[in-house]
Amino acid sequence: MNQPSGVRPDPGLTLLDLYERALPQVYGYLLARCGQRPVAEDLTTEVFLAAMDSCRRGKVTEVSTSWLIGVARHKLVDHWRRAERERRGLRVLGGLAHAAEDPWDERLDALLAREVLASLSAPHRSALTLRYLDGLPVPEVARCLDRTVHATEALLVRARGAFRAHYQSREEGTR
């Protein structure tokens, strides 16, 4: 039935209605990217509570699963930033030579790739995850990371270089 014009259902109630369907999507998205159940649960909680907060503040135009996945991307990036701040000082990240083009013709081993991603710095891990695991176009990645498109492109180049260096050294290590 149509709502009378100008009357919209409370977005908070819409979110509760959507909860059962959206939960496995949001949780599945986060679990596949962070790999640890307790972390995925914590982040999922953050996503839904932040979403409810936005709904109640009237900041949301469309309550949907894809909007929630977008919120989850931000929470994931924030989580990696936080985690890295905690680890800072324990690990020195090597600056990598800038490679403008990086023709690299190889099929990636999914498990090894996952390990390598986890070993990268938070900005590199975030950029590569959003660009390649999530398949977002660069301007979308830039928006998620709060950077300009230009800075994001540069970050992606460095992140790819870092990924490749780690990947290749690990591959050699296993031979």
Binding site: L16, Y19, P24, E41, T44, M52, E106, A113, L133, G135
Partner: protein
């Protein structure tokens, strides 16, 4: 040539989380939906529920008076109901439930009564008592408490012997208890050091919540100046007390009085 990074593409695959997690998150969301907004329609004093009165409930209040008089040095009024001479309002009452009955301050008692009812508790109407406007309530764990119209208490900096320094609420299900107290008083909860233990932010008194108990009750920790002699007094008065243990915040002992009411002693 294809970009090997394209192999990384990982579409969202739905995964069902642990049903207990799913259920407790739903409770949190429902509570968040009804919780007063900070900075919104609620006044700035959105967080409520300071403990302004606490009463020991035991089967025989006169017997409890004798026990706590000898252990904590409580001076008790002629009617046996009130502890006198302390900075806190403490009392005694005969009730078989063996808990600590708490009265919480609120600035708008009718709004608080509605929040108690909306959150799954029961609340009587506000009644004018000699000490002010109050409403008798039961929370969603079955714990009795009351709402009291008053301004928030300022937390004390030091505690006299026999005053409550910490309150621990034992509940069956911590997620529904958190949802209740979160929506009624605006309290928030951070995970504590023990499993299903939570530090409560909001009430002026230090407050903890612990889930997984067969029955809900509130356990007080009383300040003592010398814990070894206080432990000896508990044992001499017919109660039990564990040997004192050094915790980060002080030296404590787990006790049970001579009628089976649990409490703690703390030398802070």
């Amino acid at each position: 040539m294809t970009d090997p990074f394209e192999d990384l593409l990982e579409p969202v695959v739905p995964v069902d989380p642990d049903p207990r997690f799913a259920a407790s998150l739903r409770v949190l969301l429902e509570a968040a939906l009804v919780r007063p907004m900070s900075g919104g329609a609620m006044p700035a004093t959105a967080v409520q529920g300071d403990v302004v009165y606490a009463s020991v409930w035991s089967p025989d209040a006169a017997r409890a008076a004798a026990f706590y008089r000898s252990v904590l040095g409580w001076r008790i009024s002629a009617d046996g109901r009130r502890v006198e001479g302390l900075g806190q309002h403490l009392g005694l009452w005969s009730d078989a439930r063996r808990t600590t009955y708490l009265s919480h301050s609120v600035s708008d008692i009718d709004a608080a009564i509605s929040r108690v009812r909306a959150a799954g508790g029961t609340a009587g109407d506000a009644v004018e008592q000699p000490y002010g406007l109050s409403a008798e309530c039961v929370d969603n764990q079955g714990l009795p408490f009351s709402l009291h119209l008053s301004s928030p208490a300022s937390p004390p900096s030091a505690f006299a012997q026999g005053e409550i320094v910490y309150l621990t609420m034992h509940v069956r299900d911590s997620s529904t208890a958190r949802a209740f107290y979160g929506s009624v008083f605006g309290w928030t909860f951070t995970p504590g050091s023990v499993s299903d233990g939570w530090q409560v932010q909001g009430p002026g008194t230090m407050f903890g919540l612990h889930g997984g108990h067969s029955e809900a009750r509130v356990l007080p920790m009383y300040a003592v100046s010398d814990i070894s002699s206080a432990v000896a007094r508990v044992r001499a008065a017919g109660g039990t007390a564990t040997d004192p243990v050094q915790m980060p915040y002080g030296i404590t002992s787990d006790c049970v009085d001579d009628q089976g009411v649990q409490f703690y002693l703390g030398q802070l």
